[in-house]
Every structure is written in structure tokens, then in C-alpha cells.
Symmetry: C2
């Protein structure tokens, strides 16, 4: 924090793109624009839409990493030696570029601060970890945590670095533990559809290995390209196909966790009544109790048949009613996504000349009574073509009752092609000078419309004045009792104080959510950003229970301090 | 324990049936044979089968309750006064009959001891609670626990009294908290398919109230007639239709728990990523952390279409392969039950002349290649007839690949009619002098055959010599990665030491289960009986985590002491 700093050596001085440290993800890592831009720029129609509906912004240049300063590592030679004895010489990275690469996450606040050269956590200049350690085995991690405990070092477990809630945001003397070298497919039980993996493996690495055995995990969050399986589990993540494939907690058969007090091996067989579910206590623990090192995942037979299609509803309300009817009628598709009118409009406007827009298409929608309506994507998958066909037929018996019109398979294919573009698009919008942030929650069906209104209004009020912000939402995770609500907001960035602007909006929308009895997060986790609202969600006694568990597993409070629990009972020295 | 005892006053001296205390379940409660006998006795064929395959037993008479002695209540007048101020004069029962009625559970050890007049927990003469308290409101329960804490009284939460694992087995100065007066349907959200209930309500009371609104819970354990919803949740229960309707933990949207340290309200909306799942920590907590007072349940639309049928496989192995294929092919039925060859044989033998046996039937099975095979019951339910038909067709495409032969709907109907007879049949077998006990676990598909062999062999070895015992199993809860295994054993009871005989078998089979990496219980909970194996299942550090949670919520250890955790860190005075 007040430490001496060193210039970032050996970096190209021009673009900000400096390439990945050798052991990082194979994809190139852009230290500033973390995700990297999508090759396709926004078209003219999209730019015009933004200017008209959000406002005129001015380009937001990227800071030049050549000028970045990071504090020097505060580790003593003895401490470095001990870490090296555990992880090997090559497993302890002390160079500034690596320490930057393993700092912070992918929230708007992270992006905005980094873009302005305020690297490090929450914009505090140069506050990066003192070392990055890359363990190779579970026992290394156990030894590492014991060493950190002895030396009073905080530990930030680091998978893909994709937290959007300040989940990688410790301060002070600390190490980042990169899971990159614990990223193998350990074993597969093809009879039981189980795959054991090192927690550092990513979806894009795992899925081809599973596909070779006729299997798939089917967990497809937007952070797909970078997030690790351990990160999915630690944050209680949910993917785009969760309606059919389940949330990540539904995919964890068992898991192995290294804690400062030793190892936990949890989960025996497909189901158990042997007391409380301790797996569920570690899933969603966000690195605050230990490091998940190995996960045995429930995997599925790789679908041989799939059918994705676009569907248009007269409005968002009728689409929600249809989705409810599908879920409660046991006729859910595997992917179910419903955009509100605002998101539908922007989807049509931004998709450009090769997209689904065009005068003829508009006339078609108008003739079917769904112009200006709500766009949905429905996808069915399976290994039995007749079953996929029958399931779709059952769904369409429901959909027809709610005025749905099919837009055909082309729209479905187009959505699948672009399904992971969101994070890339964010960098493009930041380049143009726009704030873009997402908020997600969930509600019972009976409260969904009110929640949708409350979220929209609070973002509009806190990020005004007109013409922006543009607020748009979708439902993408459907349950029998309710659904998720995922809202994207685009506003002209306040370049004088982008983090302050974001913070005010975050506060307003979080209050709108929690005051309605909804959850502060459906699939992004708590991190630091949602921690102030956790006590309202689980009660002060609930927070005390979590603190008691943390005290037992992490008595010195070294694990990802400040994350999850709204206060820190103890801190690392 | 060494307390003065008083004769049970005002009881009829003949049959042992003394009628229920007024506030108990509406069904008559037999203090000795807790469940009561089924009106239909076993037929001649069944008796011959037992004699041939288990051995000759001699009738086991019921002890006469007129001779029972219970210790006098150890509560002081001040303590009684305080309980009465909380629960009302009528809410504190001190008479011996009530104190007996709210003692112990429904395990073989409970039954055998009670049959021989050793009422009270685990056969310790007369060790019944000092009072039964029947609170009416959540706040009463909070006040009650605070009072018990002040006075050093242990608390045994008591739903239907159906624990088969010693879950209601505290010793010493204690009260039983009966949930009978907190048994209403509190509210229904028909849009979201949610029903909030008082934890004391039973399935037979709840289902008609839900059916009137076109809804159902669909949780159908064998303890159906007596068990409470709160008991289901506290023991992580699973019903006969769990493959389609889910385990009880899948049915809990939110719950309210009174603990000695205050109230926990857990669960917001259909899903959340707001940290660890604390609901999952209270589900399965077996009264050791607090008393579940209210549960908001996920309910389903009441099926209007159903199709149940009998299916015969050539053998248990091919049936298991088919069930696996169904689960992994997303073609599961809602009810799936597969008997091994031994259970199939006894089902056919015991079902009598009106059942599925008979020479013509045997010739039919022989002609189809499945004589001596494995009987399965499959049931599909829904509100869309076409969907039920399509789902059944998808299942049959799988079943045919495994040599299955349909036995038609009559066998399915017969199973549904008798689905809750098991507990009644147990009393009948005890009358005849037979030990009858059930053991249940679960395994991955790849380990199921080995587990089946290990369970069978351990019971045979520990309950020999020949001809008995008779050991038979079924799979009744099916998951993508594995299945439950439920084993029934019948042996000639050792009348000199029935509990010791049971204990040796329990030890042998539990070791066989745990040594194979399987769970000590799939849906019966831990109680006292499984507590010695919990540390092997969740590890010593896992046990410590549970103890830390208990310390935070129940610092004086008054809640159901001795249950769940294998040791008691602290005990009530």
C-alpha cells in the first residue's frame, strides 16, 4: 500500500497487450482490457442506437502498462525460500507482470480502474500480491496454507480471475495461488458419468477431453473462456444451460478442499442423508474457507441431437407466463432465455445487416402480432432424437397458449454462435466511453414483474439523466418456483469518477433487490461488492454461523480476507 | 435413570392398546406396537415361505403396559410453571402415558425393547422425558429453548416419532417438544407453486389441503402415515417418488428454525449464489441445532394423468443397467423401483392368491425369459397426457434394450395400493417372532453390484445360521450417477437378547457399507445408530465443522444431545 514500487520491466510500451506469462491460460491475456476485444466491431446501427438511447460518449483510452507501478514484494528471502520449497522455483512468480496478471477480477470497477492505470485491487495503485504461487498437488496446497499461516500471509485463490463482484480483492501482504498447474482431467468413471478434475481446469480445456469419451459437463457461463471449474464451484456459478443441466452445485458429486486446518473430502455417492450437507457449505465459500483442489463432477452423455430456435412473445409478461408454465408443467427446454422488450430491441438493432432484423422481418412480426415483443431462445438437447422432438412438442403445446411465434432455427443458431461474446463486447463499449454493467438476481414467479420494475427504475434513477441509461433484462435460469433476472445497463461513463458512479448505481439496485426479499445474487457470488447485503439475506445469526465455520477452518483469517463475510473477525498480520 | 418410578395409571390392563393422548395424531396410537398391525394378516403361503427360508419362530407376545414403570418427572414446580407460561397449561403434558408416547422412535431396537416392556430409550427402563411440551407458535419455541437453556434441560424435537436410527434418544433430564399444534397450512403462493406449512403437519393432512388447490408435494416415504414435514426436513428424507419429485432437500424453498441462540430464516427465491447454502446445513440437522418450525415447500401441480406398471427383467443386473440407462438418458420415470431376485421371489410368494402369482403367470414369465427375474415398478405422472405417453415411450425404447417385459398396469396398481404397508407388516412379523430390519445406502452405478453383494453377505454372516436370514434388496431412488440400495433382512429373533442381535448385524453391515466408500445412510439419517460412522464419511475435520456450528447455535448442547455428532462436546446438566 505505502510500499516501494518498481516499474513494470520488459513490457512493450504501446498497446497495453503484453502477452501472457508462460504459465497463464493459453489464450493471450490483455493486462488492461482483461478479456480482449471481439474481432467484430459494433456496426453503424449499433453506434446510432447507443447515441440515441444512451447518449454521446467520448473514447476512453487504455492506460499504457509501461507506466504502471507496483509495490515491491514484501516477502522476506526466507518466506520466498519456503514457498519455493513447496511449489518449486518455477512455481513462485515474483515479477511484476505476473503479479499484475494475478490481481483483481473482471468487474466494471476492476476494468475502469485498470483502464485508468490504477492497477491493483479497487483502484489502489500498485497493490498487487507479493507473489504468485502455482502449486502442482493437493498436498502442496495444504503445505502452502500452513506456511502462509505461520508467516501471516493472506491467500487469494485465483482460478480464471473472472470475478465480477470483487471476489479477488484482498489487501496487504498476501500471495495469489494460481490453479493453472492443477488443471488436468484426473479420472473418468464412464459407467457412473463422473469426471474428477483438478480445480484449475477451464471449460474449453475440459469439454474436448470429455467429448472424446462421449461426455459433457454442459456448464456454460459467459466467463467460459477463462473461468476455472474450481471458480465455478467456489462461486456457486450457473451456466446458460442451467435449466437443463443444473447449477454448478447440482454438478458436484464430491470435492476436495485444502484448508489451513487440513483436508476436507466431502461427498459419497449420488445422495446421502448423513447429516447436513457440508459440500453445500464449501460450494459458494469463495476461497474464504480453503482452496478447492479437486472436484468430481457429474457429467452427461454428449448430446447427439439438438434443436435451438428463436421464439417471439407479444410482450415480456406473456413470455414470463409461458416460461412459468413450461417449468411447472415439466416441459422446460434445456436452454431457456427470454429478453424483455428493451433487450429485444437492442438485440435486433445491434445484430446488424446479417442479423435477424430487416424490413421483411419486421413486417412478419407485425403480421403475427409480436412486433415490439419479447425474444426468447429455446434449446433442447439429447441423445434420442425422438425424445428431443417429443420434448419440443410438449413445450410448444404450452408456448402456443401464450401467443408465441417461432422465428425458426436460424435465430437459435445465431444466439449459440454469439453466446460468449458479452465479455468481449464490454471492452468494446468501454473503448467507446460507455459504462456497461450487469446485475443479476432471482425471484419467485409471483414477484418477478415487481422485481423487474424495481431493478430497472433504480438503475435509471441512479445513472440518469436522460437519454441514458439504457436498461435491459432477461430471464435465463428457470425454476418451478421462479426465475433469475439478469439486467444489463449501459450509460455514458463518468470519466472523472467511474468507480464512484458505478458504486452509487450498485447501492441503489442492491437496495431495490434486497428490499423486495430477493437474493443479492443468483450466480455471481458475494465477493466484496455484495457483502454488505449478506446479513440481510441470511440474517445476523446466519452470518455468525459462517463466521464460526471460518474460525474452525481458518482460525487466523488468512483465506481471501474481506470476501463473503461482511466483516473480518480476524485478519492476517 | 435411577429416579423413582410411578405405575402407569388409568390404563386398560389387557391388550396394550390404550388409545392416543388427545393431542396426538388422529390415528390411534398403539404404545407397544407403535405403528399398529395391518388389517390383512399374512397368508398361508407367506408363513410357509418364512418357515422354509428364515426358520421356525415362536410368537413374541406384547408386554402389558399396565405393568410399565416410568420415572417421575424431575422438573421442579418452578420449571413446570415456566413451561406452562410459554405453552399454556394444556401445552405441558406430565402424565406417564403422554411421556411414553413421546419417547423413542420406530427402529427395530425401539420395537423389540418396548415389546419386552423396556420402555424408554434403548431399553433403559422408564427413561422417558420429564415433560412433553406442545408449543403453538415459533416465538413459543424460541422462548422454550431459552428457558431450557437456563434450566439445563435437554430438548428432543418430536415430529411423528418415526426415526429408525435412534434419532429421538436423549437421556436424562429433558423435555420432548411435540410439534402437533404447529401443523397448519400457513399460506400458498399458487403462482409460484409454494406452500408454507407448520413443521408438525403430516403428509396425510397436508396433501388434501394442497389437492384442493390443484397442488401436491409428492413426498411419499414409508413413514407416510405418521412422519411430519419438519421431520422429513430434519432427517434429509426421501420418498418413493423421489426420482421424479426430488428428495426433501430439493423441496425446501426456505425454512425457519428456532435455535437456542435465536431464529434463522433461510432461503430467498428459487436459487442463489449468496455464499454457502445454510439451508443445506439445517436440512439434515436432526434437531441438533434447533427446531424447524416452518417450511416453505416447493409443490407441484397435482397430476391428472398417471401410468404405473410392473416390469420384469431377466435379472437384477440387467434391471440395474436399464435403470442407469434411463437416468443417464434423461428418460427416468417418476417412480422407479427395482427388486433383486430375492425380493422379487418374496413379493410373488407373499402376495397370495389375489396377487401376481399363479401357474399361468409363471408360465408367462418363463415364456418371456424372465422367470426368476427382477421385478420393477415404473410410474409416470403429469398434467399433460401426451407428455406422460411420450415419456413412457422414451423409457420403453431404453427398457427394451435390456430385455424388459411389461407385466401391465395391474401390478402397478397393486404396488400403489400396498406402498405404505411395510411398517404395519413389521409389527406382524414381530408378533410371529421374526426380526425384521432395513438398511439403506447408495452407491455410484459402477459400485452398486459390489455394494449389493457386501451388504447381503454381511447380513447373512452376522444373522446366520441357516436357513435364515432372508436378505432382499431393491433400488428405489435413481440418479444419473448412481442409485440407492434398500435392503430388508428377516431372521428369527433372538429373544434372549434382541437388541444385541440387532446391534451385531448393524455393525457388520455398516462396516460393509462404509468400507466400500458408500454412504452410511441414503434417507434414514444418522441418529445415534449411524453416528459412529459419520467421521468416516465426512472426516474428522468435517465433524469438527459440524461441532463448531453446533457450538455457535447451541452453546450449552441442549439440542437432541447424542444425535448426529458421534460425541457430545457438551451436555445438558
Amino acid at each position: 500500500m505505502g510500499s516501494p514500487t518498481s516499474r513494470l520491466a520488459g513490457q512493450p510500451g504501446s498497446s497495453g497487450a503484453i502477452g501472457a506469462p508462460t504459465r497463464r491460460h493459453p489464450e493471450s491475456l490483455d493486462l488492461v482490457a482483461r478479456w480482449g476485444r471481439h474481432p467484430e466491431d459494433l456496426g453503424e446501427a449499433a453506434l446510432a442506437f447507443l447515441a440515441e438511447n444512451v447518449g454521446i460518449a467520448s473514447p476512453w483510452p487504455l492506460s499504457d502498462p509501461a507506466g504502471w507501478q507496483v509495490r515491491e514484494s514484501a516477502l522476506t528471502p526466507d518466506e520466498v525460500g519456503e514457498l519455493q520449497r513447496i511449489a518449486g522455483d518455477g512455481g513462485v512468480l515474483l515479477d511484476p507482470a505476473s503479479r499484475i496478471a494475478w490481481t483483481g477480477g473482471a468487474s466494471y470497477a476492476d476494468y475502469a480502474a485498470r483502464r485508468d492505470g490504477r492497477i491493483g485491487v479497487r483502484g489502489e495503485a500498485g497493490d498487487v500480491p507479493d507473489a504468485v504461487v502455482l502449486p502442482r498437488h493437493h498436498d502442496d496446497v495444504v503445505a502452502l496454507l500452513a506456511a502462509c499461516r505461520r508467516h501471516g500471509l493472506a491467500v487469494v485463490p485465483f482460478g480464471g480471475g473472472t470475478s465480477v463482484v470483487g471476489g479477488l480483492a484482498a489487501h496487504g501482504r498476501r500471495i495469489a495461488v494460481g490453479m493453472d498447474l492443477m488443471a488436468s482431467l484426473v479420472s473418468v468413471d464412464e459407467v457412473s458419468c463422473l469426471a474428477t478434475v483438478g480445480a484449475g481446469i477451464t471449460g474449453p480445456r475440459l469439454e474436448p477431453l470429455l467429448a472424446a469419451r462421449g461426455l459433457t459437463l454442459g456448464h456454460l457461463p459467459q466467463s467460459w473462456q477463462r473461468a476455472s471449474i474450481g471458480g465455478y464451484v467456489a462461486t456457486r456459478s450457473s451456466g446458460q444451460a442451467s435449466t437443463g443441466y443444473g447449477r454448478v452445485e447440482d454438478m458436484v458429486e464430491s470435492l476436495r478442499v485444502a484448508t489451513p486446518e487440513g483436508t476436507l473430502d466431502l461427498g459419497r455417492g449420488p445422495a446421502s442423508a448423513a447429516g447436513p450437507d457440508l459440500r453445500g457449505l464449501l460450494v459458494g465459500s469463495e476461497g474464504s474457507l480453503g482452496i478447492i483442489t479437486e472436484v468430481t463432477l457429474r457429467v452427461r452423455r454428449l448430446p447427439t441431437e439438438s434443436r435451438y430456435e428463436g421464439v417471439m412473445f407479444p410482450d415480456f409478461a406473456s413470455g414470463c407466463a409461458a416460461f412459468r408454465d413450461l417449468a411447472q408443467g415439466r416441459a422446460s427446454a434445456d436452454v431457456m432465455r427470454l429478453s424483455d422488450e428493451a433487450e429485444t430491441a437492442v438485440t435486433l438493432a445491434m445484430s446488424g445487416p446479417r442479423g435477424v432484423t430487416g424490413a421483411a422481418f419486421g413486417r412478419y412480426l407485425g403480421a403475427r402480432g409480436v412486433a415490439g415483443g419479447s425474444l426468447a431462445i429455446l434449446g433442447w438437447e439429447g441423445t434420442d432424437g425422438d425424445q428431443v422432438r417429443d420434448r419440443r412438442a410438449a413445450a410448444w403445446r404450452v408456448l402456443k397458449r401464450h401467443g408465441a411465434v417461432s422465428l425458426g432455427r436460424r435465430v437459435g443458431r445465431s444466439w449459440r454462435k454469439g453466446r460468449f461474446h458479452g465479455p468481449f463486447l464490454r471492452d468494446t463499449l468501454l473503448d467507446l466511453g460507455y459504462l456497461v454493467e450487469t446485475v443479476e438476481t432471482a425471484a419467485h414467479w409471483s414477484g418477478l414483474a415487481d422485481l423487474h420494475g424495481g431493478v430497472t427504475d433504480s438503475l435509471r434513477a441512479s445513472l440518469g439523466p436522460r437519454p441514458g441509461p439504457y436498461v435491459m433484462s432477461h430471464v435465463s435460469h428457470v425454476y418451478e418456483t421462479g426465475a433469475s433476472l439478469y439486467t444489463t445497463v449501459i450509460a455514458v461513463a463518468d470519466r472523472a469518477d467511474p468507480v464512484g458512479q458505478w458504486h452509487r448505481a450498485k447501492y441503489a439496485v442492491s437496495e431495490a433487490i434486497v428490499s423486495r426479499g430477493s437474493t443479492i445474487t443468483h450466480h455471481h457470488a458475494v465477493g466484496r461488492d455484495h457483502a454488505p447485503w449478506l446479513a440481510q439475506e441470511i440474517g445476523p445469526l446466519g452470518v455468525d454461523v459462517l463466521a464460526a465455520v471460518k474460525s474452525r477452518l481458518d482460525p487466523d483469517g488468512i483465506m481471501n480476507p474481506g470476501v463473503l463475510l461482511p466483516r473480518e473477525d480476524r485478519r492476517a498480520r
